[in-house]
Symmetry: C2
Subunit: 212 residues, 2 copies
């Protein structure tokens, strides 16, 4: 059976890396930020604009921390400000990503973030028994530690970032779907990566997907 | 390492049966309604009174459906009415169960319900790495089907019961703890038993506990 796995994750939980390794072990395609570039081509919006729109980042410290370097110099063609007034643009981004995500399901794959669980659950392109929605979270101490290392920031900034990013992820999801981010009814499994650690969580999820 | 497993579960998700089989596979002790009888001895309250207090059942259709037969004739010694005015009695029940639960942790065990995750997480008797908190839920259709069979009721009554029991479980938990029932931060794993079915969910949880 064709299996489409979506991974939603708390910032700093290791969810992205876990998803990547699970895809590798299963020989599945893996999509995360690739979707941004695909949606940019699809929509004519710049990757930078899409990346910041996804996370409700118009500017400021969080923007600089998360996107300041990764998409530097790629802002041509994008609206530079994003606020309430630009909601139609945010809709354009969501719709472009939605179209890309619906087009990825012709072979087994792992898709990270981007409301993919909702988009696929409410579409006709995937049967419910083909779709597995997984949510990865972690203890706050572990998330803060991971972000301190990943972004090379101190504990205070890391904690603020962890809290802010997840707030924005939740807001984005709750705005564009009829469901609530992290609500168990959207998922087949929610796993705390602090309990087993990253490697054993990868093993566990690989087993879960094989059994399903 | 000594492992203490708590299982919280939606009504009709098969959580109790899953916990029992997991305990059996691992050779762990298993506690569910046994705690009612132990707490009765501890407190001098009747098992019937404890059972209905746990679920905020004073009387009515849900009481008759769930407890009408199981503890018939054992009400001697209990207060017959339970309402807001009797909150101190509800506290007595919680405290008696709490004391019992804290006394169960000298050997590996699986404990179902009764806010055991909160009671053990906030106590000194169990180290955090010895404690695994699991939440089992299921799709509404499967829960309704399970309760139709278990209680021999029609679909409408089963659905109403499923919704009511979980509301009361949530109320009870939210009243007696500082946390929210079903909130992922309280648990190491939340699993939808509809995805793999009961047998494979038992396998999965057994593996999870072994790895932890």
């Amino acid at each position: 059976m064709r299996k489409i796995i979506t991974i939603s994750r708390e910032f700093g939980s290791g969810g992205r890396a876990i998803g990547m390794h699970v895809a590798e072990k299963l020989g599945y395609a893996f999509y995360d930020r690739e979707i941004i570039d695909m949606a940019a081509k699809e929509s004519g919006l710049s990757p930078d604009f899409i990346a910041k729109t996804e996370q409700n980042l118009s500017s400021g410290w969080l923007y600089n921390l998360l996107l300041g370097t990764s998409y530097a110099g790629t802002t041509a063609g994008s609206g530079q400000q994003l606020g309430q007034a630009n909601l139609p643009l945010a809709d354009q981004v969501f719709n472009a990503e939605r179209k890309i995500i619906l087009g990825l399901t012709d072979k087994p794959c792992v898709i990270v973030g981007r409301c993919a669980d909702y988009i696929l659950r409410t579409s006709d392109t995937v049967q419910s028994e083909e779709l597995l929605n997984i949510f990865i979270y972690a203890n706050i101490e572990d998330k803060v530690k991971a972000i301190m290392e990943r972004l090379n920031v101190d504990e205070k900034v890391a904690k603020k970032t962890v809290i802010q990013v997840d707030k924005r992820r939740a807001n984005h999801y709750n705005t564009f779907t009829e469901d609530t981010w992290g609500d168990r009814k959207n998922y087949d499994l929610l796993i705390n990566s602090s309990t087993l650690g990253i490697d054993q969580t990868i093993e566990m999820l690989t087993e879960f997907i094989k059994k399903a």
